[in-house]
Symmetry: D2
Subunit: 362 residues, 4 copies
């Protein structure tokens, strides 16, 4: 169950970074959804390594093959299997790490849990695992847009370390602006400084983190469950399941704790036939259920754990030692994490949309 | 599925605020765990209304009855059913809210989802729903402490609006200090000011929020799953499933994004036979799996939505209107949320502990 | 998970035979379904002990209380909790069985599994556990009939030991005929002989078994899943989960293995706009999915294990011994199993109907 | 969820008969289990088409590739992905069936459910789907035998149409005898007549069915759950999820309904330190839980639906028509179903074994 997510749209990802490949099986996809491999490839290309000078230079085409569940460009309703072969593996870069645990990485905890681990490439702890998520998310988006024409999910970099996108740029982010810069921020001016910062970190063998914000438009009122499977709870889980994440907040988030209830509440008003709120401190979800406003949340990503600077650590046989990591790593995960965040949103929303249709009807 | 949580230790809560009662069924409890109703009652008393001058004056004894699964003070391994009758209901306080939606409450979204709602008492959106969680959490704690003698989970109020517990008090929080004040903060001096603030808010018919921090000690390395069911992901979901939560962060959290990788990493060292880290920015979890250090996280709670001040809103038949809520409400949910946070931790940890025993062996 | 069933309409039963009570929580019920406690009570009365001279004389009113999920006669979409108090307990009848295992009963295996068991009343292995199923099934039937007006499920006794209902009576069984006799067979003449046989068995402290057949009408084509969750697979599991069942067959069943493919196949034809089959050896399901014909299956129930005749057995500390059971037991479970079979059908069909609506749309 | 099975050892199969390939993902495999592709291939070879003169002549090597989850011959605890490419596809054989529904096949019901189907090769309704089950079952067996050295599961043909293996041969079936004949029956003499019957059926374009019996040895007492997930209930579901199955019975089965309770009960006795039963009408399971005796059950398989004889049917646009199927089909599925039955047993038992370890400890 470690690698499966969802109730009705259920995905199971598989694959180690340096094994034969990675992929996903999607169980529960509705039938007769138009789907081509290009729909998937476009999203994989956004998360692929080597796409710009600020990502890892690992060269992977990440070409997706649809193995099942689709005939003549339409989904069958049966499981969709997707395979991406691994091609650029350099296990020699992992020689030292076979014994010495990288600080703040998953090396030690995998050994503690399983008594064994795929040393080369980081195994399941590699960002390659997210290929299956992004592929499944691309299909989820097709399902959503086929029924909810206004559905749109946009993630973008809000901060890289101390550099923040301008307040104005965060007001109404647009896809073309975000994709116009290699950081994937909504503020092209801040993007220049962010790129410089990332390149400087890489030059030192160091790394940086930051915050991704995400706005989801066109989600109808009524999605999400009242108690454990609140929409924000499932989003929080989805985001914290991404590598390198340390925090999640929705709407007013942590800053909202500084307001009084009177200040914080989102007053309702009628906009023609629609119930709307004047403000959106709720972040589009109230009592676990979407209210039709934009869903807005933020995710904190720590600086990449694998740095090329010598650090103290221990070996897998219990000796103190030092380690300077080698290998090809992202000095900052956020530019490639943007499509991952979006994919996780698609996965959560489509599952809740199908569940709502099941329990209550369309 | 809306009201069920867990894979091996699976709970299903039920009950509306103003119905016959609330409760929980726990499926998958290990057999032969010593359990008395007092184990459960002690935790229910910590979350019960009317326990102090800063909580709602609603008078509920919240007396738990164990309906099944326990004989002669030992669990049987069969489902444990727990019932708490509702006693103090004043549906008349909800007359206005039958038609007018409370801003930032779940009234509108329940109607949008189900086309019907239990108006009186707030139905499932009431904090009474958490009784089942707290009861199930008390049993989870008994299971954990019977196998993991060092297991301890302490939640405490870190801030109420702008008032923060002192850094010193947050260093090494202790249960008796936390329980010594009605706010449940680890800083008795800050507690005085926090109480004043909460009482002032109540006096105005207003409300305040804040941040709860939680430290979990004695969790062995190896709990949590590598991909979707990361331990921090399941904690995030558990916390965001509590009413009034807006954010979750673990270890360094959002502030950690301001550090470089070199600064952020937790170096390993050997402490006798144990692998330890010098710092704990990871918050006790790496790659989704516990590393044996204290698990530390924070949860943001918004100010209570139900305020007794007139606000603009709409009716369930689409008319603009105004509403001043009535009824007995907590001006600040945090003091009573402390045992809820702890209960959710117990539930998440016990489930992962049983899953680890299932997949890997004890 | 031992006591939970279903994906979208998910039930969790709880309760030991001699504890405080038994019951069920239903998670996932659609909202706005008309529901009164009488809907549930009517089915509980059909399965209740003491209803006739051929059932156990245990006196239980089995009065159901709806604890949650229903307001003003309509379901809310939130969990429905149902409680039935145990009233007539005679633990003294179980004194011998505390130590000596009843042959072919669950006494030994519960001890082997859990290292503990609720001796008195048989705990979860008692037929009282099925109260929760029957209650949840009654609600499932309300959901189904509210959307599928032709839906009808009829179970009836086909054989008691060697006595069989006539072929003619099995052609087109009707509810009023089945309920007109205390055996619940479709053949009133055979009923007389069946009653005599059951009474004779009881007179000897012995017991008898038999076969229940069930026909389900009005299930639309398209319910069921192609692979593991085939409709017949879920029906088989549901039936084999009932106490005392030893076999399940659908359509032509075991006898169908004596035919050739040419003889066995059900030819299709058009009946106005509907696809129909000339014969129904498929039993209404093809490839795991309903085809719109009547679903027809049979379930084998063994003779009750608890007999009042001395038998060899062993004690829970490993000594050979003999045991003559005491207590009040059904000499034949089939009359009371009829509503249990129907309840399990309702549970399986409603879950697949909601799943179909979720994945494919109504 | 249609294509996923299991709670802790969870498999998801995927793939259409005439698509790129078929396969399975296994989530929850314990770590450090020795595993080579040969372990899997050996079982796939037993279910592969073209293995003898009485199976379909479709030529498929069914070569398995392990894509993930195994390094250096040991499982990692992460998901195991397995891929088998499809190679011998002849879609032209399905031209007629694009429009005309094969009687008693899944053609019509897939269309009724999904509004689309993979005509060529039968899609998911093809026996090729079971490749993933057999591969996952082979791994399950490795897990079981690594902890339960006496574990052995033997399935064998008991009858083909009217021809039955001798009572003597059914007493104590042995693997080498079963594998010594192409029917996979435990009676080599009956095998000769069974082969003749199958060949005769094929000669007429007709088909035959029969009964497979299965004995599972070395299952410790205590596996299975008391209520819905009874071991026999999960076995029943597993068997009825196999293509062409119409019935399941355990122990005394349907014939057991002819006995009285006194005759039917299995008396206990002590065999050194072990609790044993003199007879085994329970079939190794009591109250849903294994009792340590051999688990014995039978499964009815109907004659193959696809016959090469003209039959009446309808088209997908609602016209009466006739159809003589073409293509390469098994005239009798039982010889190849033997390894499928065994695989399903391994899957059910390993899941319950891991669940027992999780809830109760090893």
């Amino acid at each position: 169950m470690s690698s499966s997510l969802g109730v009705l749209y259920r995905i199971s990802t598989w694959g180690e970074s340096h094994g034969a490949g990675v992929g996903v099986v999607i169980d529960g996809c509705p039938p007769r959804i138009p789907l081509n491999v290009e729909d998937i490839q476009a999203e994989l290309d956004r998360r692929r390594p080597g796409q710009s000078k600020i990502t890892t230079p690992r060269k992977e085409d990440d070409k997706a093959e649809i193995l099942s569940g689709v005939v003549d460009g339409l989904t069958l309703g049966s499981p969709i299997g997707i395979l991406v072969r691994n091609t650029d593996q350099r296990p020699s870069a992992y020689t030292e790490m076979q014994q010495a645990y990288r600080p703040s990485h998953a090396d030690y905890t995998y050994d503690a849990k399983f008594g064994i681990r795929a040393v080369s490439g980081g195994g399941r702890a590699s960002a390659r695992e997210t290929i299956g998520r992004v592929a499944a998310g691309a299909i989820a988006r097709k399902i959503l847009t086929s029924s909810l024409p206004d559905y749109e999910c946009l993630a973008y970099v809000k901060t890289i370390q101390g550099i923040e996108a301008s307040a104005a740029s965060l007001e109404n982010p647009q896809a073309e602006v975000i994709e116009s810069n290699i950081v994937r921020t909504c503020d092209p001016e801040a993007a220049v400084r962010m790129v410089e910062l990332i390149e400087a970190a890489r030059g030192e063998g160091n790394s940086v983190g930051g915050i991704i914000e995400c706005v989801v438009r066109g989600v109808p009122p009524g999605l999400g469950e009242p108690v454990f499977d609140k929409l924000e709870a499932d989003l929080a889980k989805a985001m914290l399941s991404l590598p390198a994440t340390k925090g999640f907040e929705i709407g007013s988030g942590f800053a909202g704790t500084l307001l009084s209830g009177r200040e914080h509440n989102d007053e309702f008003y009628m906009d023609q036939q629609k119930v709307r709120t004047r403000t959106n401190r709720s972040g589009g979800i109230q009592g676990g259920i979407s209210n039709g406003e934009d869903i807005v949340f933020r995710v904190a990503f720590k600086p990449t754990a694998t740095v090329l600077i010598e650090q103290n650590t221990v070996t897998n046989d219990g000796q103190d030692t030092t380690l300077s990591a080698r290998g090809r790593h992202d000095p900052c995960v956020l530019p490639r994490a943007v499509p991952m965040v979006e994919a996780m949103v698609h996965l959560v929303v489509v599952d809740h949309w199908l569940r709502q249709r099941g329990q209550v009807g369309a």
